[in-house]
């Protein structure tokens, strides 16, 4: 600030003089600042009147603005403004729009939903977001699964069955896979024989002599593989025992192995170590019955539904 400008000002000083000539200007606050300040005070008063504001021990001043919403029982509720009521109002507004579709989902049989062009559009869009949030972490975005961990939902091989009813059952209650470890019951040679037999079922390169011995072992009481995988090795869907004859692999990472020996070794690993995984969480507590039905149709339509 130049000396010239200082001299030209006509603002009063505070009246004091320090050290003989040291004076202090008493400038008024800028007008825009003062009015902005008054505006914020008025804003606060309006805000306190409309919305919940001051705490009063166990309670608070609720404010005069209200939120009206229809609750899950269909009753109209009015509550002083708060974010929880706001959420319910928001959810119910969306529910009203979606209701015709979800009502149809609840009422229609699966086959009809899948064939109705209007509904299949809804299933694809609603199912896609439900699948992305809840299922894709394990089964991956397209439902292709992860070998060694989570089943492929797009092929026609199903552990527990690929009908609408079975998929629905899987979603509702979850699943828990189990296969005992055979390393304590069988010796290394026997496990190798079994692995060669299982490889032979899918026409993978194998040792024919070992496979013949494995065939006997498979159907014997010693290994008793046929209890779960059945005597023709096509598996039991009621307990999730896989079909061993279709060259579709989940637990043994056969496709990744380059050589025939590698493929047999992958099978050997599963027989020796058993499986205590293949856990699918139950969704009945987390998703609504209609959402589960949407997902059932969505998963069925991924390509493998039966």
């Amino acid at each position: 600030m130049s000396e010239q400008k200082l001299q030209s000002q006509t603002v009063q000083t505070t009246g004091h003089a320090w050290d003989g000539d040291l004076q202090e200007y008493n400038n008024p606050l800028p007008v825009w600042w003062v009015y902005t300040f008054y505006a914020t005070v008025i804003f606060a008063l309006v805000y306190w009147t409309l919305y919940p504001s001051w705490p009063l021990g166990k309670g608070w001043i609720g404010g005069v603005s209200n939120i009206t919403y229809v609750n899950s029982e269909g009753e109209t509720k009015t509550h002083s403004w708060n974010t929880r009521a706001l959420l319910l109002a928001d959810l119910n507004k969306a529910a009203v729009t979606q209701k015709p579709y979800f009502d149809k989902v609840a009422a229609m049989p699966y086959e009809q939903i899948a064939q109705d062009p209007d509904m299949s559009g809804f299933i694809i869009s609603a199912g896609k977001s439900l699948f992305a949030e809840n299922c894709a972490a394990c089964h991956q975005a397209g439902g292709q699964g992860v070998i060694g961990f989570f089943p492929n939902l797009t092929d026609d091989d199903w552990l527990y069955g690929g009908s609408y009813e079975k998929i629905h059952e899987t979603l509702l209650g979850g699943r828990r896979g189990y296969m005992p470890a055979f390393s304590e019951v069988l010796n290394g040679e026997q496990i190798d024989q079994l692995a060669n037999y299982v490889a032979s079922l899918s026409s993978i390169g194998h040792d024919a002599t070992k496979a013949t011995a494995g065939d006997v072992l498979f159907h014997s009481e010693t290994a008793a593989c046929y209890y779960c995988h059945t005597s023709d090795a096509t598996g039991r869907k009621d307990i999730g025992a896989p079909n061993l004859t279709d060259n579709i692999w989940l637990w043994a990472d056969v496709p990744a192995a380059d050589t025939a020996e590698g493929k047999v070794a992958a099978i050997r690993g599963v027989i020796a170590g058993g499986l205590n995984k293949g856990v699918m969480p139950a969704w009945s507590g987390r998703l609504s019955p209609e959402q589960i039905k949407v997902l059932t149709v969505y998963v069925h339509e991924l390509g493998g539904g039966q």
Binding site: G57, L88, E133, C138, F149, G285
Partner: protein, 248 residues
């Protein structure tokens, strides 16, 4: 009334100015502090919330040690998108035994307040060891050492004692245990008894086998046990949507 207020009265009287400054500041303080004295009466009453078992608590310690809170919040806000993605909004009652709470304010990863039961144990283990093998677009770091590091359980008693000091109802005496039986039931009360902490921890880890390896108790066992209990204590099917709105 001829009352001509002048700011100079305050500005030239340091005593008056001090008093008025204190008053102005204390309003801000009181508004935040006073409600804390009534917190027991103002948080929602819900059934099922209990302190963590010794194994879960150790998992929680690892959660903090690894800084999971830097990317994951544990606070579902009452918005439609959050309700649809994560589930019911978080209640104050659900973190009443959390010291310190893990609400967080930053989400690089998803909110974990209700991750319990959403994925299987093996998913968690594999995802922790190599996140991108499960979620290709993930930016989460790998935590392979959790699986190979044995869990240090030697100091579990002291850890629970420390939490007891800040008000978590872990029991030391028979009287405290009996009080827990009344409050939480016998099964939970047994888990909260500090003298049995190490035994309980080992039992839960062996029974749950969270990391899929029965040969020992790893840090992964504890962390997965903790993740699988998050947000599962309150059964929201027992409450209507309105019940929590009435609390506001």
């Amino acid at each position: 009334m001829n009352f001509n207020f002048k700011h100079e009265w305050i500005e030239t009287n340091i005593g008056l100015m001090s008093v008025l400054t204190m008053l102005a500041i204390s309003v801000g303080g009181l508004v935040e502090i006073a409600p804390l004295f009534f917190i027991d009466e103002t948080i929602e009453k819900v059934e099922g919330v209990r302190p963590y078992t010794p194994l879960e608590q150790r998992g929680r310690d690892i959660y903090q040690r690894e800084g999971c809170y830097a990317c994951h919040s544990q606070m579902i806000r009452p918005f439609r998108d959050e309700k649809l993605r994560y589930g019911h909004y978080s209640l104050a009652a659900e973190s009443q035994y959390d010291h310190p709470f893990q609400w967080g304010s930053k989400r690089t990863g998803p909110d974990l307040a209700r991750v319990g039961g959403k994925y299987s144990n093996e998913w968690h283990v594999q995802h922790m060891v190599a996140p991108r093998s499960m979620v290709p677009e993930s930016v989460m770091p790998n935590y392979p050492w959790l699986l190979s590091t044995p869990l240090d359980i030697s100091d579990i008693t002291n850890r629970l004692k420390a939490l007891r000091k800040v008000g978590v109802p872990y029991s030391l005496s028979q009287a405290e245990y009996d009080a827990n039986v009344t409050k939480f039931g016998e099964t939970v009360a047994g888990q909260l008894h500090i003298p049995d902490a190490q035994k309980n921890l080992i039992e839960q880890a062996n029974f749950g086998n969270y990391d899929g390896d029965r040969t020992g108790i790893s840090e992964m066992d504890a962390l997965v046990a903790y993740l699988q209990v998050l947000g599962t204590m309150v059964d929201f099917s027992k409450y209507t949507d309105d019940a929590f709105v009435e609390f506001r």
